[in-house]
C-alpha cells in the first residue's frame, strides 16, 4: 500500500525519508515540487498527484508536507487518514510537530514509523500500544538515558496488541484516580452583510483524560441525548448500547483520547453568541477607504466572550491601514494584506471597536469586493447547543474516582461577509 514517505518543509526541502518496501528515489518528489510551484497558496496543492509510475498523496500539517508514495490502486482516504494519524502521533509524542522536533527525535520518529506500518499496511496506530513499545521522550528520561545508557524502547512486550481491548494497556496503576471530560463545541457560521445567518452548525467533541487504575468500565449519560444528530465514536464505545439506550458505555483507553464527536444539525436553531457591526467602504476616485468595526455579545447565556480575535483579508489595492482600536492591539501586514485584531474579552458595557481609514494605491480603481471577516472566540462553561452530561458511573473497579466535566464553546469557521 504505502511505499515510502517523504517529509517536505515549507521551503521545499526533503528532510526525512522512510521506505517500507524497495527504495523509491527521492526524485519522485519532483512532480510534487512542480505542483507546489504552480499553487498560489500552500493549501492549493492538490492532495493526489499522479506521476508516470507512482501516485503521490500528500497532507499539509504544521507547514510540513507529508508525501506518501503509492504504486497501485488504494482508497485515497485510507492513506490520508493514516498520514494524519502519523502527525497526531508525533504531536502526542513531541508536543509539537515541527521540523525541528522531528529532526531532534529522528530515531524515535523512525522507530514509530517502523511500528506503524508493516510492508505499507498499518500495524499499530493506537497511541496506547505505541507508547508501550516506544516511550515518549521527556526531558527527564533523556537525561536519565544519557547517564545510565538505558533506552526509550519499552522492555516489556505490548500485550495490548493481543487483547480484546487493544486500545487499553494492561496493569495501569494510579494513586489518584481521575476522569475528566471536556465538552467542546465549535460554531461554524456564515453571516451575511445585513447580519442575518446564512448557515450555522454546531460541531462538538468530547475529549477525555482518564487516569484510572485497572480495567474500569464507564458509562456516561446525557440529559438530552436527542440533540446529537450524528455521532462518531472512539472504537471503545459500545455501539449497541448507544443505539438502544443512548448511553455511552466503554472501557476507556489510558490517558487522553477523543471519546466522541457529534454534529448538531443546521435544522436546529443555533444561537449566535456575537454580532458585528461593520462599515467598510471605498469611494470612487479617492485613495482613502473607511473602516469601522464594532463587536458585541448576543445570546451568550450570561457568559463572557473571551479570547476574541478578528482577522480579515483586505483587498489587494489597500496599501496601509491607519486604525484605532478601543481595546486590544491590531496588526496589518502590507505584503499579505492580512489585518488581525486581538480583542481579548468583550465587555458588554463598553463594546470594542476598531475605526480608522485605509489608504489605497494611488490611481487604482475602487476594489469591487468587500473583505470577509473571520472571528475566533471562546466562551467558558457553556455548551452552546445546550448539551448536558447527566452522570458518569464506573463499574468493574472498587475505588472511587474523581470526576470532572468542563464545557466550552469556540468559534469554528465563523465568517461575516461585508
Amino acid at each position: 500500500m504505502i511505499h515510502s514517505l517523504f517529509l517536505v518543509n515549507a521551503s521545499g526541502d526533503i528532510f526525512l525519508e522512510k521506505h517500507w518496501k524497495s527504495v523509491v528515489s527521492r526524485s519522485v518528489c519532483d512532480y510534487f515540487f512542480e505542483a507546489l510551484e504552480r499553487a498560489t497558496e500552500p493549501e492549493n496543492v492538490p492532495p493526489v498527484i499522479p506521476t508516470p509510475h507512482h501516485y503521490l498523496i500528500n497532507v499539509l500539517r504544521h507547514r510540513i508536507y507529508f508525501v506518501a508514495v503509492i504504486q497501485s490502486e488504494v482508497p485515497p482516504l485510507f492513506v490520508i487518514e493514516f498520514l494524519h494519524r502519523v502527525v497526531d502521533t508525533f504531536q502526542d509524542y513531541f508536543g509539537v510537530c515541527t521540523e525541528a522536533a522531528i529532526k531532534d527525535n529522528v530515531v524515535v520518529v523512525y522507530e514509530l514509523l517502523e511500528e506503524m506500518l508493516d510492508n505499507g499496511f498499518p500495524l499499530a496506530t493506537e497511541s496506547n500500544i505505541l507508547k508501550e513499545l516506544i516511550k515518549p521522550p521527556t526531558i527527564l528520561r533523556t537525561v536519565v538515558n544519557t547517564i545510565t545508557g538505558s533506552t526509550n524502547v519499552g522492555e516489556q512486550l505490548p500485550t495490548g496488541q493481543l487483547s480484546v481491548v487493544p486500545w487499553r494497556r494492561t496493569g495501569v496503576k494510579y494513586t489518584n484516580n481521575e476522569a475528566y471530560f471536556d465538552v467542546i463545541e465549535e460554531i461554524d457560521a456564515i453571516i451575511d452583510k445585513s447580519g442575518s445567518t446564512i448557515t450555522a452548525e454546531i460541531q462538538g467533541v468530547i475529549d477525555a483524560c482518564v487516569k484510572l487504575t485497572g480495567m474500569p468500565d464507564l458509562t456516561l449519560s446525557f440529559m438530552n441525548p436527542r440533540l446529537l444528530d450524528d455521532v462518531s465514536f472512539h472504537p471503545c464505545v459500545r455501539f449497541k448500547r448507544w443505539e438502544a439506550e443512548r448511553i455511552l458505555s466503554f472501557i476507556p483507553p489510558d490517558g487522553n483520547f477523543r471519546l466522541l464527536s457529534y454534529h448538531v444539525s443546521s435544522q436546529n436553531l443555533v444561537a449566535i453568541p456575537v454580532y458585528v457591526k461593520h462599515n467598510i467602504s471605498f469611494r470612487e476616485g479617492s485613495s482613502q477607504g473607511r473602516f469601522e468595526l464594532t463587536l458585541g455579545p448576543k445570546q451568550t447565556m450570561g457568559k463572557a466572550v473571551e479570547s476574541v480575535l478578528v482577522s480579515s483579508q483586505l483587498p489587494r489595492g489597500v496599501l496601509n491601514a491607519n486604525l484605532n482600536p478601543s481595546q486590544g492591539t491590531y496588526t496589518f501586514d502590507p505584503v499579505t494584506k492580512l489585518l488581525s485584531w486581538d480583542v481579548g474579552k468583550i465587555n458588554p458595557q463598553k463594546l470594542p471597536s476598531l475605526k480608522g481609514s485605509m489608504s489605497l494605491q494611488a490611481g487604482a480603481s475602487k476594489p469591487d469586493e468587500n473583505p470577509t471577516i473571520n472571528i475566533q472566540f471562546k466562551i467558558q462553561q457553556l455548551a452552546i447547543s445546550g448539551l448536558k452530561v447527566n452522570r458518569l458511573d464506573m463499574y468493574g473497579e472498587k475505588y472511587k474516582p474523581f470526576k470532572g466535566i468542563k464545557y466550552m464553546t469556540k468559534a469554528g469557521k465563523f465568517q461575516v461577509r461585508t
Binding site: P75, I80, I190, T372
Partner: protein, 958 residues
Amino acid sequence: MRNALVSAENLQLTLKTDFSSEEQALTIKHSSGNEEKPIVFPSYLKEMLESNKESLKLEAMKRIVGLIAKGKNASELFPAVVKNVASKNIELKKLVYVYLVRYAEEQQDLALLSISTFQRALKDPNQLIRASALRVLSSIRVPIIVPIMMLAIKEAATDLSPYVRKTAAHAIQKLYSLDPDQKEHLIEVIEKLLKDKSTLVAGSVVMAFEEVCPDRIDLIHKNYRKLCNLLVDVEEWGQVVIIHMLTRYARTQFVSPWREDAMFDENNEKAFYDSEEERKVEQTRPYIMDPDHRLLLRNTKPLLQSRNTAVVMAVSQLYWHLAPKHELSIITKSLVRLLRSHREVQYVVLQNIATMSIQRKGMFEPFMKSFYVRSTDATHIKTLKLEILTNLANEANISTILREFQTYVKSQDKAFAAATIQAIGRCATNISEVTDTCLNGLVLLLSNRDETVVAESVVVIKKLLQTQPSQHSDIIKHMAKLFDNITVPMARASILWLMGEYCEHVPKIAPDVLRKMAKTFTNEEDIVKLQIVNLAAKLYLTNSKQTKLLTQYILNLGKYDQNYDIRDRTRFIRQLIVPNEKSGALSKYARRILMAPKPAPVLQSAFKDRDRFQLGTLSHTLNSQASGYLELSDWPAVAPDQSVRNVEVVEPAGAPALRKSKTAKSNEKRLLLIIMTKYILIHIVLSISTQFFVNCMCSLLHLCVFLACQFDAVSWHVHVSLQASSPVFVPETSHELLHRMTGKGLSAQYRFTRQPCIYGNSMVSLQLTLSNSSDQALENIHISEKSSTGQNIHRFNAIERLEPQASVTVSMGVDFNDSTQAANFQLCTKEDEFSVSIQPAVGELLLPITMSEADFTKEQGKLMGMNESSATITMKPENVSSQSVNRKVVSVANIGVIPSSQENIYRFAGKTVSSGSLVLVSVALKDPDAVITINTEKTVIGSMLLRQFKTALTNSGP
C-alpha cells in the same frame, strides 16, 4: 555446543580486522567522491559499533539511522552493523532491523549472516518474538531465502497465536512481491488463513488476498458470513480493505436490488395468476433480497459511526453500489460530517459527493448549506463545492443558490470567480425559468473591472445565446460596444463568432466591427484571427455589398500570415465563397455550409462520467484508471448458487500445528544446510586471490552460527506474563436448545465456540443455529428483553425473516458468572415465545492461557491446600499415550497445553471467563495409575472439573 559458540566468537574477532581494512579503503574512496558528506563518518562510526560498550553501539546506530532518514547512503557499514543483530539490547536490535531491512537488498550476501538469528527466534515460546522475527525475516528482500520464507510463513499460518498468524498474512504479500512464482503456494496459505476466526487476522489476510489473487472469488464463499459478522470488531484499517473486497464480491453474487417499483407490482400480480407455470414464476418473482446481501448491509451500517474517515467512505461506497435506492439516504449525514475534517479529506469526500449528486440530487439537497463556500477554503475545495451546488440546483432552490453565487463572483480569488460564472451558465441552461435572470446578471458582469471575469462571462453568454439568439440582439449589441475594452483572446474570439453567427440580427454593427478588425488583424492572437476570417466570410455571404472589399483585404492578410492554420483557413474560405471557374459546384452551397444552424452546446458537469469508477477509489479521484484497479462487475442477471456460502463443518483452530511442526522443522534444517553448502561452494569457486580466505572464514562463520543456534535454547530475555491463547480444540458437537416439534417448526441448536467473546470480557461465546423446518417463513426471531435468571446475555440481532427449510447461524454471549447454573431466556418469533435454557458444561466456562512451565509450578505453589483437589484413577492402557491424554483433557475443558519437560506429567492452564481466576490442571502418569490435580481458587469449579476428567480418562473410545 559451548565450544561452537566460542569458536564463532573467535572467528568474528579475526574477521573484524579484515573487514576494517576493506572498509578503510571504501571510506577513502567515498570521502574523495563526495565532499558534502562528513568525511569521518564510516570509520568513526565503525569504531563505535565495534566497541564493547552497548551505549556506544547504540549511539552509533542512532546516528546511522539519522543518516538513513536524511537519505544518505550508509550501506558501507553493513558488515559492522549486521554483527549486532543478535544483541540483547532491544533498542539496538530494533535499529539494526531498520538498517538491515533498508540495505539487505544491496548487500545480499552479507544479509544472509543474520538469517539464522531470525530462524531461531521463530521458535521462541513468546508469540511477540516469533511475530517480530517473521516480520523482519520476510522484509529482507533477498531472493535466495525465498524457500526459507515460504516454510516460515506456512508454519506461522498454523501458529496458535493469532498475532503471529496476522504477521504471516503480511509476509505473504512481501514474499509475493519478491517472487511471484510462489503464487500457487501462497494461495494455499491464504485459503487457510481466510478460515481463521480471529479478528486480528481477518483484515491482513484479506489484504493479502486482494494483492495476490483478487480474482479467486471462490475462496471467499465459505468465509463470507464470518467476515460479515466479524467486521465490526476488526481493526479500522482492516475494515476498509474488507469492505472494499466485499463490495466487489457482492456485485458478482447477488442480483440487483434496483428494479423499478412499477415492474415490481406487475410481477406480483402475474405471479398470483400464473402459479402453475413454475419457471415463469421463478423468473418474474418479486425481488427478495438474498439474506446474505442483507447481512452485509446490516453489519456495515454501524461503521458509518466510525471515527476513521476511510471506513465511513468505504461503507458509503458499499451502500452506493449495493443498497436498494431507498436506503441510500442513511449515508448522507455521515458524508456531510466528514466535511468537517482536514482539507485533504474534504477534497476526496467532495469529489465523491459530486459524483453522487449528479445521479441523486435528493440525497444532498437538505444539506445544501453545508456546501456553501467560505473565503478560507482552498481553491480546489471551493470549485468542488461549486460543482455540487450546481448539481443540486432545481426550480425550488435556484434563487437561493444564485444569491449565494453573486457573493462568489465578487471573490478575491479570480479563478474561483470565473468558475462561478461557468456554474451560473450551467444553472441557466438546466433550469429554463432562470435563463433570463442569469443572462442579465452576466451582462452586468461584462462591465466588471477584472478581465478574467469579463472574459468568462463573454464565453458563457455566447453559449447561452446559442440556445435562443433571436430575443437577445440587444445583448449582442452591448457586447459589440464593450469589444474594444476586452483584451482576453478567448473572449474576443467569442464575440466575433457571435457577430458572424447572428449578423442578421445586428446588420448595422457587424460590418463596422469587421472594419475595426481589419485594422488590427495583424496584432491579434491566432484564435481571434481565425474568427475574423470567419466573420468576414459570413458577412460576405449575407451582406456582400458593404463588406466585399473588407473581406478581400482580410483574406489577403490571412494568406501571408505566419501561422499555417490561418493560411489554410484563408485559402479554404476563399475557394468556398468567391466564385470562380474551378470551384463552381461548392460555392453554391457556401451559404448553407457556413450559415448552417449550429446545435447549442450542452453544459455538463465534469463529474458526469466519473461513476464508471468505483467510488472512493484512487481511480475515481484521478478520473483515470490507476494501475491495479479492479473493475466492479455488473449485477448478474440470475443469482449464482447461494448454497456455496453455507458452512457446515467447523475445523478446530490451530490444532494441526502440533503434529506438523516436526516434519517441517527437519525439512527446514535440511534446506538450510543445502543452501549453506552451496553458498560455501560458490565462494570457494569464485574467490581467487586474498579474498578467498576471508570468504571461507565468512562462510564457516555462517555454518557455526547456524549450528549454534540450532542447539541453543532461549537467549532472548523477556518478561513472561499470562497470555490468553486460542483454544487447542473446539468440539463440533452441538446441543439442542429447541426441538422443532415444541418450537412449531423453529428449531435451535447451540455450541460453544471456545473463543473469547467479542461482546464482553466476561462472557462465554456461543453459536446458535436456527432453522426453519415448517412450510412457512418465520419472521422477527429474537431473544426477549426480559431474562428470567440473573445472567447478563448479549442478544443476537433480530432475524427479520427465515425462509422455510433455511437456517441461519448467529452468535451470542452469556455471562454465566462462573457457575453452571443454566441461562434461561425466551426465544421469540413474531407469533410465539419459547422458553429455552442453556446448560453450560463446566469446561466451557474457561479460556485457555499460555505460560511457561516455571510460571506454572510457581502459580501452582500459591494455590495449595483448600484450593487443590486431586484424585487417583486407573487408566485404560489405550489412553496412556501423551496424545490421547492431551486430547481427552482439552475436549472436556477449554484449556491450553503447557509445554512440559517431564515425560509423564501433562500440564494445562486456563482461567475462568468471568472472574479470570487461574485454573491449573496437571495429570501425572504412574503406570497404571494417574493422578489428576486441579488447583484453582474456584473450588466448586475445581471439583466439578475433576469429576469430568475422571470419567473422560477412565472411559475408552475417542
